[in-house]
Symmetry: C5
Subunit: 267 residues, 5 copies
């Protein structure tokens, strides 16, 4: 019998990492470079706040890329439109793809149910009582709304990585009883709450969309906090035993023009 937990979904998200093709870019006359950068900055600024969704721009570290564009939109068509608008810039002809990730912001009901039940209890609505189920769902929706369609957090540093739950021969998350899984996830959530105010976590589901099961985007003002939260979680029982991690990417959140400047496309 299948018993997948229910999740609530928000923005569809796309992270795209690009490295500048220096052989061709460095050969471009300075005047042309300025024009190319100005056009790209304009397109990226227009994408940043289109009314329904958000895009952000990061200067990356290391050979994993120079730029990360992160698009949050209401549907896949809008995400594709972000790609296509950027693809049309002259700058795009000087960028090489290094990694991308497609997902959708999600809230697991593992955690949310607990929160909502707590809220209701404080208001005197006890589990099992008449109307509890309907009240629970309404409460969950209310709690979830700002976290499903958030704005891009203002913190200076980005950490992105995809991950999956382990499906090993002996240690297999999907083979655990639902109750055991829920218990694990509650413990896991506590670490996240410990970093409240220091690290903003945006969890994105990607089952059926991309190669791992989740994409995780972390935002912080101190890169040491990014390292610390990921490291501390690694010792948490559910991560220690059941998490498998993909590549990690690190960057600096910047206005588009400044991001282009920081990676050396303009001066």
């Amino acid at each position: 019998m299948a018993d997948a937990p229910i999740t609530l979904e928000g923005w569809y998200t796309l992270h795209e990492m690009w490295a500048v093709d220096r052989a061709r870019w460095n050969a471009l006359p300075a005047g042309e470079r300025s024009a190319v950068v100005a056009e790209a900055a304009g397109v990226l600024e227009a994408l940043a706040d289109p009314g329904d969704g958000h895009s952000a721009c990061f200067a990356l570290l290391s050979q994993k890329g120079d730029l990360c564009l992160m698009h949050w939109r209401r549907d896949l068509e809008s995400l594709r439109r972000c790609e296509t608008e950027f693809a049309a810039t002259r700058l795009r002809g000087y960028l090489l793809p290094t990694y991308s990730y497609l997902a959708v912001i999600e809230l697991g009901t593992y955690e949310l149910t607990g929160h909502a039940t707590g809220m209701l209890k404080r208001r005197g609505v006890e589990p099992g009582s008449d109307g509890f189920e309907a009240a629970l769902e309404a409460e969950m929706q209310k709690l979830a709304r700002p976290r499903l369609h958030p704005a891009v957090p203002p913190q200076r540093y980005l950490c992105f990585y995809p991950m999956s739950k382990r499906r090993g021969e002996q240690v297999n998350w999907y083979d655990l009883p639902a109750g055991e899984r829920a218990g694990f996830m509650r413990g896991h959530g506590e670490i996240g709450r410990k970093y409240a105010g220091k690290v903003v976590q945006v969890i994105q589901g990607s089952v059926g969309f991309d190669d791992w099961e989740w994409g995780v985007t972390l935002f912080a003002d101190d890169p040491g906090d990014l390292k610390e939260i990921v490291y501390e979680m690694r010792f948490d029982e559910v991560s220690a035993r059941y998490a498998e991690f993909g590549p990690f990417v690190t960057g600096l959140l910047l206005e588009p023009a400044e991001a282009l400047r920081r990676v050396g496309l303009s001066e």
Copy 2:
């Protein structure tokens, strides 16, 4: 003793994903681009419905590609002809291959035998009775026909992924008794039926043809359903323990000219 289940086979299928080479495309004069796109759209339209077989065109999301061409044909020669006709377009010279998959639509008799037996029982033909075996085969063929040579479903979103059954050191599908395998597959089929009307599944066998054992193409009008069905199946016992998944690709079904427009090849 080998005891591979019998399968029925339909269209040979080829999925090919392509990324636009933006360095070269963006440098092409607008007038030439129009001509290139017009030629390609014409070829893709001619391939779409050639009488015996179908081809479809998808705009993809993320750096996994811009376009997916999906060809369904009666034999490998016809699939190769699709490739060659597209290869001759000028557009093909501006596309970089990112992934492809060769397979054949198949129906497992795991599931089909159950259906057909049920049909016969309702008509009073009992298993073990005289002529049951012949009636069963005829019934299975009748049930299978529209699912072996279908038209491309009209749903807006595509999800493609290859998968194999696990051949681990302890957990090994191919080492299970045939009866146990059949039981697992029946349970698995129930999830698919739950999504009837929401998700169309096209299962393709690729043992001997490509690197995984199956290719799965899902079609839905709500991308959330794509995520949900794959996620729910992950908790199903047979997938939880025995399934291994390859890369996932997501796209939008579009008329050829519209697909080319959506990925920014024309305006």
Copy 3:
């Protein structure tokens, strides 16, 4: 104590898969293309039947390549000569390598000893009798000869894949007693015999030559048989537990000029 089974060896074999570089090929004037194709077809035809050895040409399916050249020669020097002659064609400058495999046709004595012993028994030469060992070796050589230096089978479809025996932590072929291994291999051979007349199998050893332990080339007139034999073998105990498979490539056997035409190099 090592107890590797003895094998008999025939043609050295090289499979080379190539994809056409469409960006450059499609930009070549039609007249030049014709000349390039004519030259390549001439070289490939000369390689096909040089007296001592055989070469064949396949049109491949999917992005795994457009052409497969398969060379069977008496020694590595001759294989290298095939490579070098093709490398000198103008066409080679428009091809990108996608995969290759170096091996030598081999017959395992697992199977052959059984056959030869049977033959001798039918002639009244019993195991253990005087002169049995010498008679056995002679019989094995006689049985092996046509299978070690065969011509390319005429069947229309090709399936190539490399494979190894599993060397897992618990399930390890090389850790089994020799007798147990021989028993497994005999059962395995029976499946091959079931497909006699439908599928021609050419088993090539590549230990010390390439990354997997064997290369397997299958030839059939019905691609369904290729899928069926590989799938049925997957349930055979020795494959189920001990086989690990590399990439699969599928193609159509064609005369060189026709192969070049089918992949769109000429019309």
Copy 4:
């Protein structure tokens, strides 16, 4: 309950490996090459000792690259600035990225707590005594300072590799009790001390920053010592059971102009 050990952090570090694009470089006129090298040497010299941080230049061995640039800086912004300054050189247009690693120098308190406690004891401050905790922290900071923000060691040879602790299904570092982990790490430290004066180890944490959990940079005047320490550690219980290693890179520490000369960019 999570119980990640506390670590102290120093320089952020970036290793970047580059291979010369010989097809394009060898085609450059000698006069231009000199100008390109002179400019690059100037930029690399300026980066080497900017007051707050250090950069070093290595000639690499093998196809893993020709040059390694190693930047040690106080924050990610400064590391990005190193990348961008080098990206602007003409030379960068002739280099292909082969590998990079982002991390931060760290000292594990596994080891440091022991050292600091020993120091305090020798001064009569016993564990558990009044003020011990505050004294311990101060002592640890004092001990750590020169090792968190060191200068680049002067030794002639470099070895860099990333590594992680094993997170296997049965053998899982993150599933061990904290006390057991601490014991393992103390034993491990002893090997490092045995090589004091011969090998300088710089341990860098990269959880949340790059794909492995640590980057290790070793410096020695005898390459045999690099091989010996890594090999000896492989037999140490904690490495034998719990360490997983990424790619290894080997190089020669050189002044920038000399590094460029040694890899054949100037004469």
Copy 5:
């Protein structure tokens, strides 16, 4: 407690595999090709026997490359000099790197101690006797010298592959008691001795230098012997359980000019 076996070290070794960039080479006028080849042959001949060290040139089989250059030198600086001298040739601009390996010829004392002890016993110096230890070390050095700094064997065929000892969760070489490891290695050495006169083995350690723990170069006059020794060793207990193998490369030892001719660079 670490107990890594002691090894003696000789030549530092570098294998570099290259594929000819046919798109560009085949487009080069014949006259220029001759000049390019003549220059490269001159450089390779000068490298072959520089007094202190050896270099050899191999024509490779398959898409793994056309040429393998193998350099044996006294230190890393000399190896780097080989790379740089070849990098300066015009030919190098037409070669694409496909694989390389850095290591150092080593003799394990597992085997050597046994040999030397045997030698001493025959001369009446018994283990445990006065002066035995010093005599043992001297004997080992004497035995080792010609094998640590050999000339390139004259055999016609090359097989190169890297390998590591398994560090699995249950089956872990580095977790075995030292005595057990020594016993395994003695058995393994016997197979090598069986092929004396047929196969020359050069074992190279690469811990700390490259991605695997050893590089193995085999030389033989019959390629069947290369296959046979690797296959037979696979059944040896220590390989069966504890060896993991990287890619295999096969080639023909040739004088530089002849190697360049055989891969089609000259006629």
